[in-house]
Symmetry: C2
C-alpha cells in the first residue's frame, strides 16, 4: 500500500486539497505513516489521471489555486479492492534503537541526552495525539480514534520502558572492577 492508496483513503473521508491532506498526515497519521508534499502532490496527480479522483481548482487571491480533490465511484471501488486484497506490512526502522544496541560504543553523556530527548519527543507525540483526539467534533469514523489510541498506547509503553530500564545502559559495566572505589 503506497502513498497513493493512503491519499485515496483519506479522500474517502471527504474532499480535501493536497495541503489539507498534509495537515491530516501530520496531525494523526505521522506516527505510523509519514510523508511529505513531494509524495502527496504527485500521488494526487496520478489518482486524477486514473480517474479515481476529480479535481476542482478554486481560485484564491494572492495564492496558487486551491485544488480540491474528491473521490469518484471508480476510486472508491479501487480503494475497496486494494484494502481487500493487499498484504499489509508493518515495519519499524529505528536508528535510535540501533544506537542503543551499540551503547557500549557511545559516550555516556551523549547516551543520556539521546534518551532524554527521545522521551521528550515521545511525550510531545503523545500530547499531539491526545490533542487531536479530544475535539470529538470530527465526522471521521471510529477507526481513526482506534488507530490514535494504538499509537498512544505504544508511546506510553515505550516511555515507561525507557524510564524503568535506562539504568541498564547507563550504569558502567562493572566487570573487571573498573573504577571500584572501595
Amino acid at each position: 500500500m503506497d502513498v497513493k492508496t493512503v491519499c485515496l483513503g483519506l479522500l474517502s473521508f471527504g474532499e480535501a486539497s493536497g495541503y489539507d491532506l498534509k495537515k491530516h498526515f501530520e496531525s494523526t497519521i505521522d506516527h505510523f505513516y509519514s510523508t511529505g508534499f513531494g509524495s502527496i502532490y504527485p500521488a494526487l496527480a496520478a489518482l486524477a489521471d486514473e480517474g479515481f479522483v476529480t479535481c476542482t481548482a478554486v481560485p484564491q487571491e494572492g495564492r496558487p489555486d486551491r485544488k480540491v480533490y474528491r473521490i469518484t465511484p471508480a476510486g472508491e471501488a479501487a480503494l475497496r479492492e486494494t484494502l481487500a486484497t493487499c498484504e499489509p506490512m508493518h515495519k519499524t526502522r529505528s536508528e535510535f534503537l540501533a544506537l542503543l544496541y551499540f551503547a557500549h560504543m557511545v559516550p555516556p553523556d551523549r547516551l543520556r541526552e539521546l534518551i532524554d530527548g527521545r522521551i521528550a519527543g515521545m511525550q510531545q507525540g503523545l500530547e499531539r495525539l491526545n490533542a487531536s483526539a479530544c475535539p470529538a467534533r470530527h465526522s471521521w469514523p471510529a477507526s481513526v480514534q482506534f488507530v490514535q489510541g494504538f499509537g498512544a498506547a505504544l508511546l506510553e509503553a515505550a516511555v515507561r520502558y525507557l524510564r524503568e530500564n535506562r539504568h541498564l545502559l547507563e550504569t558502567p559495566p562493572a566487570t573487571r572492577g573498573r573504577r571500584r572505589v572501595a
Copy 2:
C-alpha cells in the same frame, strides 16, 4: 545511520561472516531494523574497501569460501564517531495501521482475519525475542538485552491494545439505525 554502520556495530561484538550477520539480524534486530543479503554483502564489501574491516576467506568443502570479517581500529574509531554524532531517527511505516484507519472500507471478515493474523504474528515475534534472550550465554553487552526487552514491551502493549479495542472496529457503526431489528 545506514546498514553499513549497523554491520560495523555488529562486528564490534566479534568476528562474523555476512551469513552470520544475517542470522543475527533475524534473531534480535529484525523488530527495529530489518534488512537482507542484498544490503549486507555490499555493505561488508564497502567497509572492507574503506579499511574499517578486514576479510579472511576460510575455504569450505562444497560451499563458497566463508568470508570472516573483523573490525579494525580504524573501523572502531569510525563507528564511535558515527554513533557520537549522528541524528538517529525512529520511524514506523505500517500499512496494517493504515488499513485499520480505513476500516470502514474493509469487509468485516477480512478485517477479523487481518487482526487475528497480526496478533498471532506479534506473539510469534514475542516468543522469538524471549527465546533468543533466555540463553544468557552470550558475550553480548547488556544493551542487547535492553533493546530486546524494549521490543517485547512494545509487542505486549500492541497485542493488549488490539485485544481490548478491536471491538471498536468490528462492531457495525449503528449510525443511521442500519440493520436495527427492533
